[in-house]
């Protein structure tokens, strides 16, 4: 009896899988950012993140996305800065290991151009952000590409001596390119 129930559960699970959104191809996905230090653009990235995207071209209202970024995976471009930004004044990764974006709505703003609204949570602070993005719909993959300006001080990224913006600007350009296997419709 229990075996049958288990078998049914497994079957249901297997059947349910193809109905889910395509899986993310992390090798061709990235989350990068450009900060400005003394007006010098410095590029960085996050090596580890997970994304769940359920996008429907024909039914945007049903579309949703959830992205979680492991802040300890930050690569600022220099070892010294990598160590510093994980500390308390910046991301404080021991207390707040992940940043999270949860969409609240998607709308179309042009041909193949959309806008995602959602809540971004970093360091225990949640703010609504809007991120324009494009959708490239290939035969067996879909690429979501976009970005937004993050104001680091809104999330207390860089406290204490770092809260002045003459050296490290408040604005940080965040960009994402997320590739999903399978097309969307």
């Amino acid at each position: 009896m229990n075996v049958i129930r288990l078998a049914l559960c497994v079957a249901a699970l297997v059947l349910a899988l193809p109905a889910q959104a395509g899986s993310i191809d992390y090798d061709s996905s990235e989350i990068t950012f450009v900060s400005r230090q003394m007006n010098v653009p410095v590029e960085g990235r996050f090596r580890s993140f997970t994304a769940e995207i359920d996008f429907h071209l024909a039914d945007l209202a049903r579309s949703k996305a959830r992205i979680e970024v492991g802040l300890a995976s930050v690569d600022t471009g220099s070892d010294e800065a990598d160590t510093e930004v994980k500390r308390r004044n910046w991301f404080n990764v021991l207390a707040f290991p992940a940043a999270q974006f949860v969409s609240t709505g998607v709308k179309q703003v042009g041909p193949a151009r959309y806008e995602a609204r959602g809540e971004l949570s970093i360091k225990g602070i949640t703010r609504e952000i809007t991120a324009p993005f494009t959708v490239t719909n290939g035969a067996n993959f879909t690429v979501f590409e976009g970005g937004f300006t993050l104001y680091r001080l809104q999330f207390k990224i860089g406290e204490g001596v770092w809260s002045e913006t003459d050296t490290v600007a408040n604005e940080v350009q965040v960009r994402f390119r997320i590739t999903q296997t399978g097309g969307v419709n």
């Binding site: 230090q37 003394m38 007006n39 010098v40 653009p41 410095v42 590029e43 471009g77 220099s78 010294e80 800065a81 510093e84 001596v161 770092w162 002045e164 003459d166 050296t167 490290v168």
Partner: protein, 182 residues
């Protein structure tokens, strides 16, 4: 007055000397600082001063090529003339090579140089850790070489002034008039 450098040559010499001295000290000081906004600022200032030195040296070389240096006193032996020429050429080359290596080191480390925070200088090399390490070493050893040649240069100038009591130093000094002894 051909026993004396032109006023422009004298001004450039001392301006560049002062800038190099300051930037050398700044470079030594800033490298070991823990990361802070002050450190990031000092690194930028160091790069801006380095770019300025590079530009001033280019102007100086152009000036030197169009305005010959005064002739050396006849009493100076041939080997010293050769040594003086070689160390001067070496200093011109090093004052160009040191900022060049610093700029390339910065590029290879992933930090573009933006002169005065306004003018981005293109990156000639891509970000590359091995290249950055090699260029850092090049910047350091070129600096040590320059410091050694500068020490020799200063020692020779003082020797001429206080031991030989000739006009070799005076012809490059502002305000002081050469005695006219050749």
């Amino acid at each position: 007055m051909n026993n004396r450098y032109t006023a422009v040559a004298i001004a450039l010499h001392w301006l560049i000397a002062l800038a190099i001295l300051c930037n050398f000290a700044l470079g030594l000081y800033m490298a070991d600082l823990p990361i802070s906004p002050a450190k990031l600022r000092l690194y930028s200032y160091h790069k801006w001063i380095g770019v300025t030195i590079f530009l001033l040296v280019l102007i100086r070389i152009a000036w030197r090529l169009t305005h010959p240096a005064p002739t050396l006193p006849a009493s100076i032996p041939a080997w010293q003339r050769i040594a003086a020429g070689a160390s001067h050429t070496g200093l011109y080359l090093l004052t160009l090579a040191v900022p060049l290596a610093g700029w390339l080191f910065s590029s290879a480390s992933g930090f573009q140089t933006v002169y005065l925070g306004l003018m981005p200088i293109p990156d000639l090399v891509d970000k590359d850790r091995a290249a950055a390490d090699a260029l850092k070493a090049a910047h350091w050893y070129l600096n040590l070489t320059m410091a050694a040649v500068v020490a020799l240069h200063v020692a020779a100038a003082l020797k001429h002034h206080f031991h030989d009591r000739d006009d070799v130093l005076a012809r490059m000094l502002p305000l002081i008039r050469p005695k006219g002894k050749t």
